[in-house]
Symmetry: C2
Subunit: 419 residues, 2 copies
């Protein structure tokens, strides 16, 4: 390795980190991409892995394969354990890595609002492992219900609570309703999967709070029609092994899924930089950390406001825009050109599915719902998937599910002993 070239280290190969690396393609730099996983995960479709429609490999792709053609990029699978900004050094389990420029794109985890002990009972959905864990939990609930003679336990097992009425919560609730009402309907002998109770709990007054109210209403109506119990203005006060306590009651449930708060990954704490209430690092107009012009924070770990003073949402397009901006900025600086234009977020829109054949789309002035929204949603997601193969396989799986009402990935794997 020639070490005359400046070294750009990117932590995290999510949407932001990958875009940053790609934008450095022509830079005379050594680009090092570090991630704990060997794969980039297409998070917007994780809920489909969690509900047995897709396989993990359909929405994940090896990072080093994505960056294979980029000769100045090296991918390392390891975990960063600390940052020393004074010495410009990262500590990992395999030693130290120096940097000239550092991009932190470590993403977010779930926030349990100070109750981290709930995570045991109410897993969130951020990584492939979370999705297979939730899939296992949903499918095992039906298997156990078929085994037990105890009606009360059966009812508990067949109750699914989803906490959080944003896009992920709505998509999970709709998909579980499809699993219970269609996929599994004829597969059991002692229970009727259609009797499953699916409750979507939201603390605020409406579902999909970032969408226009008309689309929120549509989502609520559609979910209700497919059997989901929607409870807005409802705060969860406790989670335990047997269900959740609400401000106004209790629901015994076999499966609780957390789709509520977002907390930035702990990586940013190592910087000791100023953070907002959610813990996201306050960055300058060029996304660098104040006082550290060589360190950038992007994606869900950064607190950024758009031109109207609104916080930039934690969605994939925002992370990608930040990654691209920072990659270009570093490229320019390495080439001796100083780029002064501050980062500007361009909001393209938002979309969310509500089970089979329904989705809501808000794209600029365009508002779609129902089947048309679902078609738009499907095409957009297939388009943004990485790799032609994954596009084919996902498209085929959706087509197949659509005509057969089946789901191809109903696997219970890695069941811990005694469960």
């Amino acid at each position: 390795m020639s070490s005359a070239k400046p070294k750009v280290v990117i932590i995290g190969a999510g949407f932001g980190g990958l875009e940053a690396a790609k934008a450095l393609k022509r830079a005379a730099a050594d680009v090092i991409v570090i991630d704990r996983h060997n794969h980039h995960c297409f998070q917007p479709l994780l809920y489909q892995v969690a509900t047995a429609a897709l396989s993990p490999a359909d929405i994940a792709w090896p990072i080093r394969h994505i960056l294979r053609p980029q000769r100045n990029a090296t991918v390392l699978m390891e975990e960063v354990q600390g940052i020393d900004p004074e010495k410009k050094v990262l500590h990992t389990q395999y030693g130290e890595i120096t940097y000239d420029y550092l991009v932190i794109a470590t993403g977010a985890t779930h926030s349990y609002f100070g109750h981290d002990e709930w995570s045991k009972f109410a897993p969130g959905l951020k990584r492939i492992e979370d999705a297979t864990r939730i899939r296992r939990s949903i499918l095992i609930a039906f298997e156990r219900a078929e085994l037990t003679q105890d009606q009360e336990q059966q009812r508990r097992l067949l109750t699914f609570v989803i906490v959080g009425g944003g896009a992920t919560g709505v998509e999970m609730a709709g998909a579980i309703a499809d699993v219970a009402g269609q996929t599994l309907a004829a597969d059991f002998r002692r229970i009727d999967p259609r009797s499953a109770r699916i409750v979507l709990v939201e603390a605020g007054p409406r579902l999909l709070p970032t969408f226009p109210p008309s689309l929120s209403d549509y989502a609520r109506r559609t979910l209700t029609r497919s059997g989901v119990e929607v409870r807005t203005d409802t705060l969860v006060t406790n989670c335990d092994a047997n269900g959740v306590d609400l401000k106004n009651g209790r629901i015994d449930a076999g499966t609780v899924i957390w789709a509520a708060g977002i907390a930035p990954s702990p990586a940013v704490r190592w910087l000791n930089a100023e953070a907002d209430r959610a813990g996201r690092v306050k960055v300058g107009p060029d996304l660098s950390v104040p006082g550290r012009p060589e360190i950038f924070v992007i994606g869900d770990t950064a607190a950024v406001v758009d031109s109207k003073g609104q916080p930039v949402p934690g969605i994939a397009p925002a992370a990608k825009q930040m990654g691209k901006y920072v990659g270009k900025l570093i490229s320019a600086r390495i080439a001796g050109r100083e780029r002064q234009k501050p980062f500007r977020y361009m909001h393209l829109g938002e979309l969310a599915t509500i089970g089979r054949r329904a989705a809501v789309v808000k794209f600029g002035a365009l508002e779609l719902k129902g089947f048309l929204g679902w078609l738009f949603w499907s095409l957009a997601h297939i388009y943004f998937l990485i790799g032609l193969r994954n596009r084919f396989v996902v498209a085929f799986n959706w087509f197949w599910d659509y005509i057969t009402f089946q789901r191809g990935a109903r696997l219970i794997t890695d069941v811990p002993d005694g469960k």
Copy 2:
């Protein structure tokens, strides 16, 4: 549940168990199929999951979905913990299950020839979990080698030993050679995956001992050409965390895969029946346990000889034939007809792939090798997969791998902490 009908309990939903259940389709019986897993696994393609070519869901299908149209069949996902043949009762973690007829089709695990402690270092390939574990281990070896600067450790990490030169061992060795030599070749910066050392160790004098010698020779030549070191007449005397000891030397290796001995599942021990040296239950001509005409043992758990006095091999077609025979026999008995014809095994043939574009096939008088053998092998396996969807997806994946040299399921998941 009407309980006037006789109750047929089948333990295990592999090839044998499923065929038995299906053959009872028209019987006036309650058929209960019990399995620890929720899915039937197509074991002949497990090695492709282990080498990242296919996803687990491509070769597995929910048991209850397969038996969904069969109204007299109930599927229970639970583990049998004991059998009381006197009382005709099974003990499971969820209670007791009585039976009138019992079919034991619990399959086989690996035999480490009295050294069960080796299983920790040299996993075998029997279940979906084994395959994802081996996949993880192979892919992590390359990732670690890229991280370390220590050349000796690099060499160890990039050494793969496969113990056992039967079909599974040959297929694994060929596939790992493809992974190292083609799939990963351009993805790393600090190591050259093509320098990986792949050693196939066989205790006997030749590979694929059940095939004609000419095909064994062909397999050896083909593997050698793709870089695999084939060592016949070589006994493994010890396995540890860093490699294997051979009778004539030592190989330091990061990954050791066990594809040697077969041991029947412990289920048969509960019967206290007479067993052969390998531990398989000696059954009568109708596959029932001597003295227990209502208990049948089929597949890898039974010691059966064919009309020439040769032991019936532990392959899928044999298990299926036994399952079908027993299912029909029980059906006839329930209908009041006694079926006296003993079980007769019909040997159709055997096949094994040797990496990309090569396979050996022995089907009656037909012997194929090379590309033609590979085509035959591919078509046969797609034909026998369960479910149209899986056939499509597997065929598509093979086609894609074939033209791109890629593998679509290069995921490292569920990595234990600190590894």
